[in-house]
């Protein structure tokens, strides 16, 4: 057999089958001509574990197995032959999948088995085996589930596993919930990644809310950047707290954490800070305004979360993602409406010709105007009140818009708490969350206002001020304030339109 002993770098000849050669024809099996790829998708529910397995078999192994399929040796694989082969092979596969739920072995039954051929390269066929397995399991308490896939472990090929929960929360899972290969239909090409080789999954489950919200939480809070991932991790921790043993200390901590989370989430993009900024800038707002918006946002948000949470627990038929999409759309529309109102008001006032005077007047004041006492005798009192009213309405609108889209983490916490029978605690957490959001928004608004005031103050003080640039900027801003409040109203409009558009793309 000396002639078959090749040098170090030489490979058994036909192995080179796949030797890439760029002109490889499109094949359903880009992973090679003798690989056996496996995908195992687990679905965990309170009373059972379901596994859908797909085995994608390349040309040569398909050929090798053909004699097993073709029982009567007539050269063709009839439907009955394929079905019985599928049944037998799925039984083998089930024997190779070793699952344990909380230490108890999972006993699989094959519910459905399929086996089919499809064309491959070189005039050969590839084949695909599909097995649907189910095993009873008691997952109504927090449990750890471990599944090892040992079917045909020695064969070269892709090994993938995923896990999702129905009526259960997957607190910790070593495998993702979505298949990167879409169930072995499209293999991702990445020069810097080796083929997936996931042969076991360890999942901790807890009874809890449906997956709809989980998915949306994951969708919304899961991002590629470290910030989102970190937030997601802390969210999970929070959820863990809410769902764990409830001692007074843990409860206090959870409340505190809720406040902080709310503050943090409000610090992230969204929740109307941009709009708030634009609004306040355009309206030469007051601290009261900032507080108003913050308060409105909080109330809206809390109410929204509570409403949505109760809605979802009542009827889980609604997909969380969709709802959030619609809410986003509504929020955007609301902001657009506020912008339109601002514009309309401005145009009306311009028509009356009193705007500039008021603008100048308001410029010099550096304190609030909301006290009626201050303006007794002011000749624009009624006008002022009218303006204030529409201003407050506008602010309320901004606040409403900002709070309309509930934060997924707050939603999930509420649902988890409800699921555990601690509705009151869940509501408390949501309120605390809202308080945290209010704090941040207030702070942001106050800062903006103070900055604005500083700048305008500096602009008016001749020569005094932090520096030429800032003075110039302040003067510019002042001029902008007086000259183009319309522009800021337009900005609010645009932002609202953008929000609505983005939400719309998600919905439709």
């Amino acid at each position: 057999m000396t002639r078959l002993v090749v040098g170090l770098a030489a490979v058994p000849a036909a192995v080179l089958a796949v030797v890439l050669v760029p002109a490889a024809p499109a094949s359903a099996h880009p992973l090679g001509n003798f690989s056996v790829n496996e995908y195992l998708g687990l679905t965990l529910s309170a009373d059972r574990v379901e596994a859908s397995a797909v085995v994608d078999i390349a040309e040569i192994p398909t050929l090798q197995d053909r004699s097993d399929v073709d029982g009567d040796g007539d050269g063709s694989a009839s439907d009955t032959e394929r079905y019985s082969y599928a049944a037998t092979t799925c039984a083998d596969l089930a024997a190779g999948v070793d699952g344990r739920a909380g230490g108890q072995r999972l006993v699989w039954t094959v519910e459905r088995a399929e086996f089919a051929y499809s064309p491959g390269t070189g005039g050969l066929e590839v084949s695909r085996l599909g097995c649907w397995l189910t095993a009873p399991a008691a997952l109504d308490a927090p449990t750890e589930v471990r599944v090892d896939n040992r079917y045909l472990a020695d064969r070269v090929g892709w090994r993938e596993m995923t896990a999702t929960g129905v009526g259960l929360r997957l607190v910790d899972s070593t495998v993702p919930s979505h298949s990167v290969s879409e169930g072995l239909r499209r293999y991702p090409e990445d020069l810097l990644a080796s083929a997936l080789n996931v042969r076991s999954a360890t999942i901790r489950v807890e009874p809890g809310a449906g997956t709809g919200v989980e998915d949306s939480a994951a969708v919304l809070s899961g991002g590629g950047d470290p910030l989102s991932r970190w937030m997601a991790a802390v969210d999970r921790r929070f959820q863990g707290l809410a769902g764990g043993t409830l001692t007074p200390l843990v409860g206090l901590l959870a409340v505190l954490l809720a406040i902080l989370l709310g503050a943090g989430h409000a610090a992230l993009p969204g929740h109307g800070k941009t709009i708030l900024a634009a609004y306040l800038a355009g309206r030469r707002g007051r601290p009261r305004d900032a507080l108003t918006v913050a308060g409105t946002v909080t109330l809206t948000h809390t109410g929204g979360v509570l409403a949505l949470g109760l809605l979802l627990t009542a009827g889980t038929a609604v997909a969380g993602e969709e709802i959030l999409g619609w809410l986003g759309l509504a929020s955007g529309a609301l902001v657009v409406a506020v912008g339109v109102t601002m514009l309309a008001g401005l145009l009306r006032r311009r028509g009356r010709g009193q705007h500039d005077h008021l603008a100048g007047h308001h410029h010099t004041h550096s304190h609030d105007h909301d006290h009626d006492r201050d303006h007794l005798g002011h000749d624009s009192n009624t006008h002022e009140q009218g303006r204030r009213r529409s201003g407050r309405l506008g602010l309320a609108g901004i606040g409403l818009a900002g709070g309309l889209v509930p934060s997924p983490s707050a939603l999930v916490v509420l649902l988890a708490a409800i699921g555990l029978g601690r509705t009151g605690f869940g509501v408390l957490l949501v309120i605390a969350y809202g308080a945290g959001m209010a704090a941040t928004l207030t702070g942001a608004g106050l800062i903006l206002l103070e900055l604005q005031r500083r700048m305008t103050g500096a602009a008016l003080a001749t020569g005094a001020g932090p520096g030429g640039l800032i003075t110039g900027l302040a003067r510019l801003t002042a001029r902008l304030h007086t000259a183009t409040p319309v522009a800021t109203a337009g900005l609010v409009l645009l932002v609202g339109a953008g929000l609505a558009a983005r939400a719309a793309t998600g919905v439709f």
């Binding site: 170090l8 089958a17 040569i60 020069l191 843990v250």
Partner: protein, 438 residues
């Protein structure tokens, strides 16, 4: 006034302090339980999969520093190694892409990428191209050990034995280590110096740290022993290799051969059945078919040969070239004309001793023994101690009527390895018996 400022300050401070205390407490409470201490148990040390570590490190590094042409080339080489070890051909396109990327970043003076290109060409059996590239690499950097390794492989397969030996010697001088020792061992084996070949392979084994390297060395040592008929020693080597790397198909094939040569045919057949499932290469399938044939299961043997033909067709359909396997397949399936055509074409490409031997046998199967004799002699002239070469030469001489020479060579074949082939060894014995009786 002071007091009114102090009180809110105090309140705020108290609030903050309380909050802080709560959080700290919560943090302490919220800690995950400590990992339990591991008891003092015996520490089993399984050899590392260094190659996997290298691949992962390189991938991570390249995501971070995509301009690292050196690591791109190394990654290409690592993918090639992976393809060689696992027989998973999906790594070849990856290797090629990595090498291309390296050359894209640094087109000139990139010896590492050139060497990787040469290794890739070798893997695809394009030995002439590999030789060209390796020579270019050596010109840019005369101290690059891997370039000499690639060159040595190419020259060996092309049949340029003197150049091959020179390249291996240069490699040995530059960097004595596993790759040098292993190539030197093969070179010596091809010249018939099997004892020294074993010594060098043992030296190579001593330097191996990666489990795949250990498995490789053990496999070569096992094959050396097996080809010399020492079944016990061969089995020990294969077993040691499997202890380091249980999933090695080559070692499993070695054990299967040991079983076959020891007469444990059923065990050998089931071993071949499972290993051809894992790595359905034509060479393994042909061996399996031969064993089946010798056990009288002709139909099964033909099924395996059909598989082998399909696999080979896929390979050639993808642009691959391997006349040696093509000829062997054709000979096994009873198509002497095809075998001759393939062997001739391969001989035109490279003048390796194996090809000479294959061509000789193909000519013999086509009843052209006079032409075949020259090639068979040429194969044996290299000095290699090969039972198959001797057997082929003996049968050709027998066919030509040179009984003395036939007897000598057939005896030699059985001396080298009494069970050198499940079908041919009995045939040799039969022929000798016939020779002896008349």
């Amino acid at each position: 006034m002071r007091r009114s400022i102090g009180t809110p300050l105090r309140v705020g401070a108290v609030a903050a302090a309380t909050a802080l205390a709560l959080v700290l407490l919560g943090g302490v409470l919220g800690r995950a339980p400590e990992e339990p201490q591991v008891a003092a148990e015996p520490v089993a040390v399984t050899p590392v999969d260094r190659l996997e570590q290298t691949i992962q490190r390189s991938q991570e590094r390249l995501r971070r520093v995509p301009g690292d042409w050196h690591t791109w080339a190394s990654l290409g080489m690592a993918y090639l190694e992976r393809a060689r070890i696992t027989a998973d051909p999906t790594y070849y396109p990856k290797a090629e892409a990595a090498v291309r990327r390296s050359l894209a970043v640094k087109p000139d003076g990139n010896t590492d990428a050139l060497v990787a290109q040469g290794a890739l060409a070798n893997a695809r059996h394009d030995f002439a191209a590999a030789r060209r590239v390796a020579l270019a690499a050596v010109k840019t950097n005369g101290y690059h050990a891997d370039a000499y390794a690639v060159l040595a492989d190419a020259e060996t397969q092309l049949g340029h034995s003197a150049d091959a030996t020179a390249a291996v010697q240069r490699l040995l001088d530059l960097r004595p280590g596993l790759s040098a020792y292993a190539r030197a061992s093969y070179d010596l084996e091809q010249r018939g110096l099997t004892d020294q070949a074993s010594d060098l392979m043992r030296r190579a084994l001593a330097t191996a740290v990666d489990r795949h390297d250990m498995a490789f060395c053990r496999n070569q040592l096992g094959d050396l022993a097996l080809n010399a008929g020492d079944l016990a020693a061969a089995d020990a080597e294969y077993a040691a290799g499997l202890a380091a790397e249980p999933s090695s198909v080559a070692l499993q094939r070695g054990r299967a051969r040991v079983a076959a040569m020891s007469g444990r045919t059923d065990e050998a057949l089931s071993a071949y059945a499972s290993l051809t499932r894992r790595a359905p290469t034509p060479s393994y399938l042909i061996e399996y078919a031969e064993l089946l044939r010798s056990a009288g299961r002709e139909a099964d043997a033909m099924a395996q040969l059909r598989l082998a033909t399909a696999a080979h067709k896929l390979f050639t359909g993808n642009g691959g070239v391997d006349g040696l396997t093509g000829a062997a397949l054709a000979a096994a399936t009873g198509q002497p004309a095809t075998a001759l055509r393939e062997a001739r074409a391969e001989w035109a490409r490279r003048k390796h001793a194996d090809v000479a031997d294959m061509l000789a046998w193909a000519l013999h199967l086509s009843n052209r023994d006079i032409d075949s004799l020259a090639y068979a002699r040429r194969a044996s002239a290299t000095g290699a101690r090969s039972a198959i070469y001797a057997y082929h030469l003996g049968m050709i001489e027998l066919s030509l009527g040179d009984r003395a020479a036939a007897k000598q060579h057939l005896t030699m074949a059985l001396e080298i390895n009494p069970h050198f082939s499940p079908l041919d060894a009995p045939a040799a014995r039969q022929a000798l018996a016939n020779l002896g009786s008349s």
